[in-house]
């Protein structure tokens, strides 16, 4: 029986953050309710092919992301989870994550999540510094987060992630260090630390993306400061028992996010909701990015058959995101050729420059610390 990961997208939030380029926007209660019905229809439809009424794949990880899925009511959450169970077999030990925005879930809702089967929470905190939070346009402050976090522990969650961001406007290495330590002291099982990217089409883009800085706006940290923050993250978190296992992800042993790893090792997954992507064997397809269209028909925005060349490239491009890198033997097993055979010259070139390395036993190919800093340059050559 084939395993599969399921991703459910909830494209609504209280208010759009100023850096956010995700598929997410505020919407009223009735539209949000209608959306959940639609999402359940999609789950039922895909079940005919891959679920209980199809080839009966077993869901080993489930991730409900957004947007702010914690905006869903208790009833909606349990209803949605029921829908999944009805349509897919879910493994006994499945990792079932849900994103929570501080200030959108009290102990009652968190308990309902727990009861519905959710066993991992991901808090979008971003910073412990209220000034920084305000500049980002977040709806919560650090104190509200602490309340939510305590409530989650009280509701019985034993696997919690906290999202943080570095390279924020006006952020210094010092203030970022304080955020890191404050978060680590809470002892979540997992931390994601993302360097802020100024995306086109966001309010931040009009401030930082082009031309000169409008008056009164704090500057972004320089590239050197940003890299300093990146190195600090690994150092400080290791003091608290976390290891980096992917470019932006840190975990206590055994708490690496299995759902996300399935993206990087290219296991099969199905995505539900607008903009959600699925990988089934050699085919990747992505739902329409328009919520309105999604409400009318389940159109795809992309449907890409992946030939062997692309599959090999993706294996390296995604695998190198993880600190343990690409499994050389698994590569041979899948494609019948060795990494060296296919990419010998690129591997040689960047090994010589100190950007790529092999594990001591030669079984894995990975980026060095220097390699991570400029990984786009390197992985682009595998495409």
């Amino acid at each position: 029986m084939n395993n599969i990961g399921l991703y459910l997208h909830y494209p609504f939030c209280v208010r759009k953050c100023r850096y956010c380029d995700f598929l997410s926007a505020p919407a009223d209660d009735s539209f949000r309710a209608a959306y959940i019905k639609r999402l359940e229809e999609e789950i039922a439809m895909q079940s005919e092919r891959y679920g209980r009424r199809g080839d009966s794949r077993r869901a080993v990880t489930i991730f409900i992301g957004g947007g702010t899925p914690s905006l869903m009511s208790e009833k909606e959450i349990s209803g949605l989870m029921d829908c999944i169970y009805r349509n897919f077999e879910v493994a006994e030990d499945a990792e079932i994550s849900m994103e929570v925005n501080p200030g959108t879930a009290d102990i009652g809702k968190l308990s309902a999540m727990k009861n519905a089967g959710i066993n991992r929470l991901s808090f979008g905190l971003q910073s412990m510094n209220n000034e920084e939070l305000e500049r980002l346009g977040r709806i919560h402050n650090a104190e509200q987060f602490l309340e939510s976090y305590d409530a989650a522990r009280n509701a019985g969650f034993t696997n919690i992630n906290i999202d943080l961001m570095s390279a924020l406007p006006g952020q210094t290495a010092e203030s970022f260090g304080i955020t890191l330590r404050k978060a680590a002291r809470l002892s979540p099982e997992h931390l994601s630390c993302y360097s802020l990217i100024i995306e086109e089409g966001t309010p931040f883009w009009s401030i930082y993306g082009e031309g000169s800085l409008p008056e009164g706006m704090p500057e972004l940290p320089s590239e050197d400061e940003e890299r300093e923050m990146y190195r600090m993250t690994k150092e400080i978190l290791s003091e608290y028992g976390y290891s980096r296992y992917e470019i932006s992800n840190y975990a206590k042993p055994g708490y690496e996010c299995r759902h996300n790893i399935s993206y990087w090792v290219r296991n099969d997954y199905l995505g539900f909701g607008p903009g959600a992507a699925s990988l089934i064997g050699n085919r990747r397809f992505t739902n329409t990015r328009s919520v309105n269209q999604y409400m009318k028909d389940f159109a795809l925005s992309e449907d890409e058959p992946l030939d062997e060349r692309v599959s090999m490239a993706e294996t390296v491009f995604l695998g190198l995101r993880m600190t343990e890198g690409v499994d050389c033997k698994a590569f041979i097993n899948e494609f019948g050729r060795s990494l060296e055979d296919v990419y010998g010259d690129v591997i040689e070139k960047y090994t010589a420059t100190g950007h790529l390395k092999k594990s001591a036993d030669g079984s894995r190919l990975m980026l060095t610390e220097d390699g991570i800093d400029v990984s786009n340059v390197i992985v682009a050559e595998f495409l």
């Binding site: 991703y7 997208h9 993302y194 360097s195 802020l196 990217i197 590239e223 050197d224 940003e226 890299r227 470019i247 932006s248 996300n260 993206y263 990087w264 997954y269 995505g271 903009g275 959600a276 992507a277 699925s278 990988l279 990747r284 992505t286 992309e302 890409e304 993706e314 491009f317 995604l318 995101r321 420059t353 950007h355 991570i372 800093d373 400029v374 990984s375 786009n376 340059v377 992985v379 682009a380 050559e381 495409l383």
Partner: protein, 603 residues
């Protein structure tokens, strides 16, 4: 065919750029009734589509039309088109030599410009009858009386009764047509004398070989005539002779003294039919050739390389084809360490270079890397040897050089008095030697300079236009070689000399140019995984340095399921960008960086 020479006229139209030469030509063709307005496509003489439709290349350099004059008689008009740029001065002079008259078109608002003068002097040199015409009288800013006075004052020809026309709107075109009869003399020439014909152009046709355009001065030429080209010595038997209708060749049995036409003779190469050469009969040649022939030498050279090295054979084929139709295009294979296999190409001037470059890119779909244009330097070596070099990389070691010479031009710049100071500054910066200034009227003057060709081939024209707000015009002709203090400036990227970036420069400007070049390259070369020093050196001595700092950060913070397709595309784009760069040692240099030297004067 016999035509009374009294009823034949040969003329060309000369004008400053944009004064309406082509439009007037169109109107003349239209008015003589050969084509209706509807059939008349704009600018028949320039029309490239027409050439394609016929599947052969006619440059339509000449057209014969029939004009029914007011006196009721019919006249044969032969309009010979001339290229309109200083690069093609020699071709212009040969076209003029095939005419008895020239219609001088002057813009009613702008008045006499530098090119007007240059062309008119050329026409006077060829003893042409000049018919001044004032065009664009429909413009609100038109001042035909002032312009007529200007023509009289500046050029010294009668112009007060010049036809005032609007070629665009077809106003007073008849007056021009009548003037051609009264003001241009009919051809002379003895049909019984030995054949003497002037080649004023030739084109290559894939089916018929070279088609030679000529004007018969004496004698006759018919089908099967055995002819000899007096300068090249080539001998051919004509296959076809004929004359020109608009956009078409009309064969006939014979062309005699005073006629313009074409011949084909299964000629394989344009090299045998040089513009300006004299055609005569092989069996009974004329005593001496027509004057004025010279072999045209390229003035400006550059390296042209295919962006994709595998396209080298395509580039060679394309150049070969272009040369069939353009004898002044020169090319020979060359190799560059930085750019691989390519060609050193020679052109009449920068415009010619640009035309060829554009045709290679458009018509042959070639993506090119072009090195900075260079003039031909004359090197006097210590061993007494004198060599001409067109590629800075071939400059001998400085210890072997006694002295160097560079080409200079005689330039005339016409400018409104407000800008005289600015333009003199510009010429000074470009090492111009001032020879004097003539006022044409109270508000305008002609500045006379000798300028090194190397100083004007890049951007002189643009600088002139921008500094004078468009009020200066410019014309030049080759003057000769002058001794000069020149050095080769080498550019080192990551400690390696990049041959394709070397250029020869006036010694005193070497430091400034070197520094600017380094700054420019620092902007053009993207950051890579390590620091890249960029240095400028003269004779091994570093005179300027910049550094492209190593890339510190290029990493995707996030990449989850929904991001993969998009991020992959982003990276693929990044990789595509890399493909457009040249790998030199371990450094990737964007192709446009090789043209950097051209932009050194951008402020």
């Amino acid at each position: 065919m016999n035509i009374d020479q009294q009823h034949v006229r040969y003329f060309c139209i000369i004008a400053h750029i944009d004064h309406g030469k082509s439009t007037l030509a169109d109107r003349i063709i239209e008015k003589t009734g050969l084509l209706t307005s509807r059939e008349m496509q704009d600018q028949v003489l320039d029309n490239m589509d027409l050439e394609r439709e016929r599947g052969i290349t006619i440059k339509s350099q000449a057209v014969r039309i029939i004009y029914k004059a007011e006196n009721g008689e019919e006249y044969f008009y032969n309009l010979i088109d001339t290229p309109g740029h200083v690069d093609f001065n020699y071709e212009v002079s040969r076209s003029l030599a095939a005419c008895e008259g020239a219609i001088l078109v002057v813009d009613a608002a702008q008045g006499v410009e530098a090119q007007t003068l240059a062309n008119v002097y050329l026409a006077i040199d060829h003893d042409l009858d000049i018919v001044p015409v004032i065009n664009k009288i429909d413009l609100p800013s038109a001042d035909p009386e002032r312009v007529a006075n200007e023509i009289e004052d500046v050029i010294g020809i009668e112009a007060l009764d010049a036809p005032q026309i609007s070629a665009k709107n077809g106003i007073n075109i008849e007056e021009v047509l009548e003037r051609i009869i009264t003001d241009v003399r009919p051809p002379e020439g003895d049909p019984e004398a030995p054949l003497k014909a002037l080649i004023f152009d030739s084109v290559y046709d894939a089916y018929r070989g070279v088609i030679v355009f000529f004007r018969v001065f004496d004698g006759k030429i018919g089908k099967g005539t055995k002819v000899r080209m007096m300068a090249t010595g080539a001998v051919f038997e004509t296959v076809e002779v004929g004359y020109f209708g608009p956009g078409q060749f009309i064969p006939c049995d014979e062309l005699s003294a005073g006629m313009v036409g074409y011949m084909t003779a299964s000629i394989k190469s344009l090299k045998d039919t040089r513009v300006g050469d004299t055609i005569t009969e092989a069996a009974s040649p004329c005593a001496e050739a027509l004057p004025g022939y010279r072999k045209v030498n390229p003035m400006v050279y550059c390296g042209m390389y295919p962006a994709d090295g595998a396209k080298y054979p395509d580039l060679r084929d394309a150049l070969e084809k272009l040369q069939l139709n353009d004898a002044s295009l020169f090319y020979e294979p060359e190799t560059s360490q930085a750019l691989g296999f390519g060609f050193r190409c020679g052109f009449l001037g920068l415009l010619h270079l640009e035309i060829i470059q554009e045709r290679l890119e458009r018509e042959y779909a070639l993506d090119l890397v072009t090195t900075a244009p260079s003039v031909v330097y004359r090197i006097h070596k210590t061993n007494g040897e004198v060599i001409d070099i067109s590629n800075p990389s071939n400059l001998p070691d400085p210890s072997e050089i006694e002295f160097m010479e560079e080409p200079v031009v005689k330039a005339e710049i016409m400018v409104t008095t407000d800008y005289i100071g600015t333009i003199m500054d510009l010429c000074q910066e470009r090492r111009g030697v001032f020879h004097g200034m003539d006022y044409i009227e109270t508000t305008r003057a002609i500045l006379k300079y000798t300028l090194p060709l190397g100083e004007i081939i890049y951007d002189f024209f643009d600088a002139l236009k921008s500094r004078s707000k468009g009020y200066a015009s410019f014309d030049y002709e080759f003057e000769g070689y002058e001794r000069s203090k020149l050095v080769k400036l080498d550019i080192l990227v990551n400690h390696e000399t990049i041959d394709a970036l070397s250029f020869i420069v006036f010694e005193d400007s070497a430091y400034t140019r070197g520094r600017k070049m380094c700054e420019k390259l620092q902007e053009e070369i993207p950051r890579q995984l390590f620091d890249i020093p960029i240095q400028a050196a003269v004779g091994g001595r570093i005179i300027a340095r910049e550094t492209v700092k190593a890339l510190r950060k290029d990493v995707l913070a996030k990449c989850y399921g929904g991001d993969i397709t998009r991020k992959k595309k982003l990276l693929e784009k990044q990789k595509e960008g890399k493909k457009r760069m040249r790998q030199v040692g371990s450094v990737e240099i964007p192709q446009k960086a090789f043209m950097s030297v051209l932009k050194l004067d951008d402020e």
